[in-house]
């Protein structure tokens, strides 16, 4: 294990988040078992008060997830000097088999937390709190995931030994190694470009459609569109956007663009991208509840707004990516 501040901070954040959720879980069980909205008993009043604690808690955990995912990548990047052959975050994450899974799980937890907050928002606008039991069941179900996240990070950091020869982004995302990431990177710029802009246009159109129409069909469609566009965008960043930023035809790396050497351009890409994906996918999932009577008004208004956010964020993302490509001196396509 390498003993350093950022690692301690990450482990501290992950264990505190988990600890808070575990301490809260008996109360979540109580809500699931004893919730009765029609009752005015003191127990019910107490349970209702507890719901405020949970939404605050999850909002906080969600924020911590975002920050710690960033810190995780930052830290991996900084640690790369300690490993022979690692030149950026990718190399450091590849030191053992837990690096990338830990990162992926953190991102997944971020999306789950935002989804929970969206469900919570819809639920607390309906006068009978129709989703309350579901919400707390989801929360309980997420606890093992948080434990897994802590476990993966612990495994990753414990397994770190300076001087391990690792592959760096040059070899992982270069076209020879047979990994998923490398296959994505090996995409020819032209089809990747088509897929990138194609899926973005589809997602923006679908989200825009749902924003106006607020119907079931458009809702599900925009959710799927947002998911597809997210995947295509990450692929696009790997396959060609990063190349334009680095002005180097073989440097496929999704992390180096976050570095000061490249003027932190990555943030401008990832911020709208993650906002769009979180909003769009939440809108799609929320449609499932549109048929509940007390949510019939709430859900369409909310999903419409979320789709609007997704559409605007994707437009922003597409514009920023295009601007970066346009300003670059690299020529990939004639």
């Amino acid at each position: 294990m390498i003993f350093q501040p950022a690692i301690i901070a990450l482990l501290l954040a992950a264990s505190l988040s988990l600890l808070m959720l575990i301490i809260a879980s008996p109360f979540a069980m109580q809500v699931i078992r004893h919730w009765d909205i029609t009752s005015g008993s003191e127990r019910q009043l107490k349970l209702e008060r507890l719901t405020y604690l949970f939404s605050t808690l999850v909002a906080f955990v969600c924020l911590v997830q975002i920050l710690s995912a960033l810190l995780f990548v930052f830290n991996a990047d900084k640690m790369s000097v300690m490993f022979v052959g690692a030149m950026c975050a990718v190399g450091a994450l590849n030191v053992n088999e837990f690096g990338f899974p830990a990162l992926y799980l953190q991102l997944a937890l971020f999306f789950l937390a935002t989804l929970w907050l969206a469900i919570n928002h819809a639920d607390s606008q309906a006068r009978d709190y129709p989703l309350v039991k579901l919400k707390y069941a989801l929360l309980l179900a997420a606890i093992p995931l948080f434990a897994l996240s802590l476990g993966l990070q612990l495994q990753y950091f414990l397994g770190l030994k300076a001087d391990v020869i690792t592959s760096c982004c040059g070899s992982l995302f270069s076209s020879d190694a047979p990994t998923l990431a490398s296959e994505v990177s090996a995409l020819e710029p032209k089809p990747a470009l088509l897929m990138f802009y194609g899926s973005l246009i589809v997602a923006i159109t679908l989200s825009g459609w749902h924003w106006r129409d607020k119907g079931n069909l458009s809702g599900y469609a925009s959710g799927l569109g947002a998911l597809a566009a997210f995947v295509a965008s990450i692929a696009g960043i790997l396959a060609f956007v990063s190349l334009y930023i680095y002005e180097h035809p073989h440097h496929h790396c999704p992390f180096c663009i976050l570095k000061p050497e490249y003027d932190y351009q990555g943030y401008w890409l990832y911020l709208p991208l993650f906002a769009a994906a979180a909003a769009g996918m939440s809108a799609g999932v929320l449609r499932v509840f549109a048929n509940r009577p007390s949510l019939a008004q709430v859900v369409p208004a909310l999903t419409g707004r979320l789709a609007g956010i997704a559409a605007i964020s994707y437009v922003l993302f597409a514009l920023i990516a295009s601007l970066m490509i346009w300003q670059s001196n690299l020529i990939l396509l004639d």
């Binding site: 390498i2 003993f3 350093q4 501040p5 950022a6 690692i7 301690i8 901070a9 990450l10 501290l12 954040a13 505190l16 808070m20 008060r49 405020y52 604690l53 605050t56 808690l57 906080f60 911590v64 920050l67 710690s68 960033l70 810190l71 930052f74 830290n75 900084k78 000097v81 300690m82 022979v84 300076a162 001087d163 000061p260």
Partner: protein, 378 residues
């Protein structure tokens, strides 16, 4: 959206007014909070600055330095030794270097004497680093005498003082002509201290080192990247140990924050009761308290960080000197180059704002869920 913003503005207004009304309590919290940030930030800034200095030192050094060992000790390299290596693929340049340490009993400090290859120093003249400029009061044109190890007195004229860009690199440096160097240290003609090899391709370094070991079994190649790695882990490790020691302080702070938030005064409880009764919702009170925590955190963070910055870069870490002496005695005295790093700020944030928020979450919720009818039953 507009309503939401307007509402947050109202809440912040109220928060500011209520912070101002409880100056004593909040100043106490701010002080402790700021102190914690100050201590942690000082450690982080100090070690980080050392790390960057080390990197800067090493950036200018060759990829491989070759030393000759006799009985496991570093020894001079005799003439013809370099030629024995012959041509190795990937090595762009190899040259012998002349340098050594000199202990100045007047100011009780070590200097590095060096005969540079890329720079012309006239015979009888020296160029000195900023540390000598300070400790011996030297300026261009002054003369200075050093007593060599053989007992003779050598006098030099200071031709120039090196710029202060990175003092750790140049602070104790004394540059002189090769002939003067040999005469001062009684170096035999043709002998050099070590050999510097530049290798352009980083992938080749390891191979070159292996070939050197083969060709010259009595040599020890030192790789720059290895040194860099060692420095990085040593500094990180030290910082980590400091933080682990300070974790007690963080914990104490968390408990303190919890106490502060949980031990609401009767006055504050009454206020929250009133707000709830006149139409504030639990969520509104939580948001108000959230703004309060955010304002205090930001202020404490800013004050603590600025104080730490001044402490480390302008007052030479006076408070830490006894603890961190291990690093400080490396060189007579040097000033660190100011440097702020995003990762470090983010880490600090995790060590201070995160425990604070986690500690006050439950007390805030407790206070915010006061029954709205309590004011009617007092």
């Amino acid at each position: 959206m507009k309503i939401w913003i307007e509402k947050q503005k109202h809440l912040i207004d109220f928060t500011l007014a209520s912070l101002a009304r409880r100056k004593g309590k909040n100043l106490g919290l701010l002080f402790i909070y700021g102190l914690l940030v100050f201590v942690l930030a000082s450690v982080a800034l100090y070690t980080h600055a050392l790390r960057t200095e080390a990197q800067k030192v090493l950036a200018g050094t060759p990829e491989i330095v070759l030393q000759r060992l006799v009985a496991g000790r570093h020894d001079l390299i005799p003439p013809g030794y370099i030629e024995k290596i012959g041509r190795i693929r990937g090595v762009q340049k190899k040259e012998g270097r002349l340098w050594g340490y000199y202990y100045d009993s007047v100011v009780k400090a070590n200097y590095t004497f060096m005969a540079p290859r890329n720079m012309q120093v006239a015979r009888g003249e020296i160029i000195v680093g900023p540390a000598l400029e300070r400790s011996r009061g030297l300026a261009a044109g002054n003369g200075i005498s050093f007593r060599s190890y053989s007992g003779e007195l050598h006098t030099f004229i200071v031709a120039d003082v090196l710029p202060q860009t990175s003092e750790l690199v140049s602070a104790d440096l004394v540059l002189m002509h090769e002939e003067d160097f040999r005469a001062f240290f009684k170096y035999p003609e043709g002998h050099v201290t070590d050999v510097a090899l530049s290798v352009a391709n980083p992938q080749e370094i390891k191979n070159v080192a292996l070939k050197l070991m083969d060709a010259l079994p009595d040599s020890r190649p030192i790789l720059r990247d290895e040194v860099l790695r060692t420095y990085a882990s040593v500094f990180d490790w030290r910082e980590g140990i400091m933080l682990a020691l300070l974790s007690a302080a963080i914990l104490a702070f968390g408990i303190f924050a919890w106490e502060k938030a949980a031990g609401l005064s009767a006055e504050e409880k009454r206020e929250i009761g009133i707000l709830k009764a006149i139409g504030w919702e639990t969520g509104d009170v939580i948001k108000m308290k959230f703004w309060e925590g955010l304002l205090i955190s930001l202020l404490a963070f800013l004050l603590g960080y600025i104080a730490a910055y001044l402490h480390v870069f302008h007052f030479g870490s006076i408070l830490f000197e006894p603890v961190l002496k291990g690093w400080a005695v490396l060189y007579p005295s040097f000033t660190l180059t100011p440097h702020i790093d995003g990762l470090q700020v983010a880490t600090l944030f995790f060590f201070t704002v995160f425990p604070y928020t986690a500690a006050v979450l439950v007390p805030i919720w407790r206070a915010a869920t006061t029954d709205p009818d309590t004011v009617m039953r007092g």
